[in-house]
């Protein structure tokens, strides 16, 4: 056995916690009475979510004539919000699957809530295409032969919009399974601590009799690895396919081969910003500073600067190719973006996504929670505007000046966007109250990373044998 205390790696969990401390710390938020902060947040987001559900039902009832779309701008807030929310989800899968394959052990403190965020974001995203296609009550048979007057007609399997249906439903299902498999051992721990019969039944049912047998861990670890392996190409495929909704059309500004990697980088960028927004709040209000340490914030800051710079590179590549292609329409689409009637949205996008993350080159700023929080809000705004710019500025002035138009969102569209934020945060508040918000089973497994038995050696007593 090694007897050196490693100074090379800082511990992933601070405060010299025992295994039992970890269980207690994480379970305290679901076992004790909820704090006042939680009630305030739950009620506030719940009200916005209720308003959102009301508005959604209203536009299903009245129809999408309640939106500000016109013949020229056929996609506006709806698809902007859809792409935005799908993108938010990508950080969760990146943390749970890609970082797992890269053996990034720091992921264990944040993967559970990031995965939950993925699921809630996909739920929010799902709202928009469902309303937009009309007649959502027959939604279940959209991918079967479509009922119409000419007899059964199949869906077009060559349409990226159909690929999207498969991509997003697979993404949601696989993310849900991955999340649930990760939860089982932790739910078993909560079950074995439960005093009240209702809690015993609830957590007992969900944990399915897990007892931690090593024979089961053997299958479990293989399953976890397989899911990480399946989810990694899946997460790249999802936003690639979303980007093909645009890239396979002939519209200048959309018809671009760099869209798939550009969208994936942007998705991870926006997703990490949202993870930061949520975790910085959770860290402050739920006393998780020992688990979500400054090192975690630092790492996330680095991913944001990497993906933010990739997005910046994509913006400039688009401009270069628009000029280099010699296509008048393509060049016009980009000049129109930067100087036309929607130029304000373009410059919000550039300043939030490209310029603002560059300050994260400074280590001090990457480790400052307040600064990172402000930063993450900027990126969230910037990435919403990126999708708005791509969709609306490309559509509103295409080939024929006689068909040019402008787009103004209605109150229904703005209320729906706000409502999905309410639904997203409301579900997150429910989640941190009902389920262990930190994957403590995984955290316990990495607590000894790079260090020896903490009971035997303290940092001061480094022995060079």
């Amino acid at each position: 056995m090694a007897h050196h205390y490693s100074e090379l790696r800082r511990p992933l969990v601070l405060g010299d916690k025992t295994l039992h401390d970890v269980t207690n710390d994480v379970c305290s938020s679901i076992e004790g009475k909820p704090s006042l902060m939680w009630w305030v947040g739950w009620l506030a987001t719940g009200s916005v979510a209720a308003m959102g559900v009301g508005v959604i039902l209203y536009q299903i009832y009245v129809g999408i004539g309640t939106w500000g779309l016109n013949k020229t701008v056929g996609w506006g807030f709806d698809i902007t919000n859809f792409v935005f929310w799908i993108g938010i989800g990508h950080a969760g899968t990146l943390i749970s699957a890609v970082l797992f394959l890269f053996r990034q052990k720091w992921r264990t403190s944040i993967n559970r809530s990031a995965e939950a965020m993925t699921l809630f974001a996909v739920i929010c995203a799902f709202v928009f295409p469902v309303i937009h296609m009309g007649r959502p009550w027959i939604g279940a048979i959209w991918i079967a032969p479509y009922p119409n007057l000419r007899g059964p007609i199949w869906v077009n399997v060559r349409s990226p919009l159909l690929w999207d249906v498969f991509a997003i439903s697979t993404y949601f299902t696989i993310s849900l399974c991955f999340w649930y498999i990760g939860l089982i051992p932790d739910l078993a721990t909560v079950r074995d601590r439960a005093k009240h019969w209702a809690r015993k039944v609830f957590y007992g049912t969900l944990s399915m009799g897990w007892r931690g047998s090593v024979r089961h861990w053997n299958h479990y670890e293989t399953t976890y690895m397989i899911f990480a392996g399946l989810a990694t190409p899946l997460v790249f495929s999802v936003h690639s396919i979303v980007s093909m909704d645009f890239a396979t059309s002939v519209l200048p500004g959309w018809h671009t081969t760099i869209f798939p990697p550009y969208f994936v980088a942007g998705a991870i960028f926006s997703g990490f910003a949202m993870v930061l927004t949520l975790l910085l709040i959770a860290r402050e209000t739920m006393n998780l500073k020992s688990y979500i340490t400054e090192d975690h914030l630092d790492n996330m800051g680095k991913i944001i600067i990497l993906t933010g710079s990739m997005v910046g590179l994509a913006y400039s590549t688009e401009f270069l190719i628009a000029w280099y292609s010699g296509s008048t329409y393509e060049l016009f689409a980009f000049i129109n973006r930067a100087t036309g009637p929607f130029a304000w949205s373009y410059w919000i996008m550039v300043s939030c996504n490209v310029i603002s993350p560059q300050v994260l080159w400074f280590r001090k700023l990457r480790r400052s929670p307040i600064f990172l929080f402000i930063m993450s809000i900027f990126v969230n705004i910037g990435m919403w505007f990126e999708r708005f710019v791509i969709i609306v500025t490309s559509l509103h002035r295409d080939f024929l000046p006689s068909s040019w138009a402008h787009y103004y969102p209605t109150w229904v569209e703005i209320a729906t966007l706000a409502g999905t934020f309410g639904i997203f945060f409301f579900l997150f508040f429910c989640f941190i109250r009902l389920l262990p918000g930190i994957a403590f089973g995984e955290v316990k497994g990495v607590m000894k990373m790079g260090r020896t038995h903490k009971h035997e050696h303290k940092p001061a007593e480094v022995s060079h044998a």
Partner: protein
Amino acid sequence: MPEEQNNLFMAVFTDEDHCLEAVKACTQANFTYHDVLAPYAVHGLDRAMGLPFSKITWVTFLCGLGGTSIAFLGMGYISGWDWPLNIGGKGALPFPAMVPIMFELTVLLGGLCTMLALFAFCFLFPGKQARLFHARQTDDRFVVVLEMDEDFSEAKAREIFTANHAEEIRQVPHDYNVNAAGEDD
């Protein structure tokens, strides 16, 4: 099987390394494991017990392949047979356009079947009562449970467990379960 008559011999550890070393020694001593329980996945504990690699990978592979085939054949039927459409002169069965859905269904079926296989392999289902040898075995205790069969030697087992700092060593009946409501397993 005379197994039903056997009592069990269990040791409780508070540290993953102690448990791992004890299991290595027990495997070397040729003891039969009734079960080894850990609150989290301890790296190498399964191999130390002498467990083979999980066969779940085969389920994933075959079901994934099933997903690819269903997607290919389904799209072939829809757009090549039942209602052929020639779009852009690319024929009724353009392979590149079929790849995304083939990939998605591979992942979907592969993943779902892998999860179901995990439940089947571990015999997990909603409502099952967990069998607990220690009230904190899902929290911070590592438990090694040995069968007291003909290969078993109590003196040797005690020696191994004591040398590896076991917190508690004792003999328990074959149906031992600290989970009061537990009757299953």
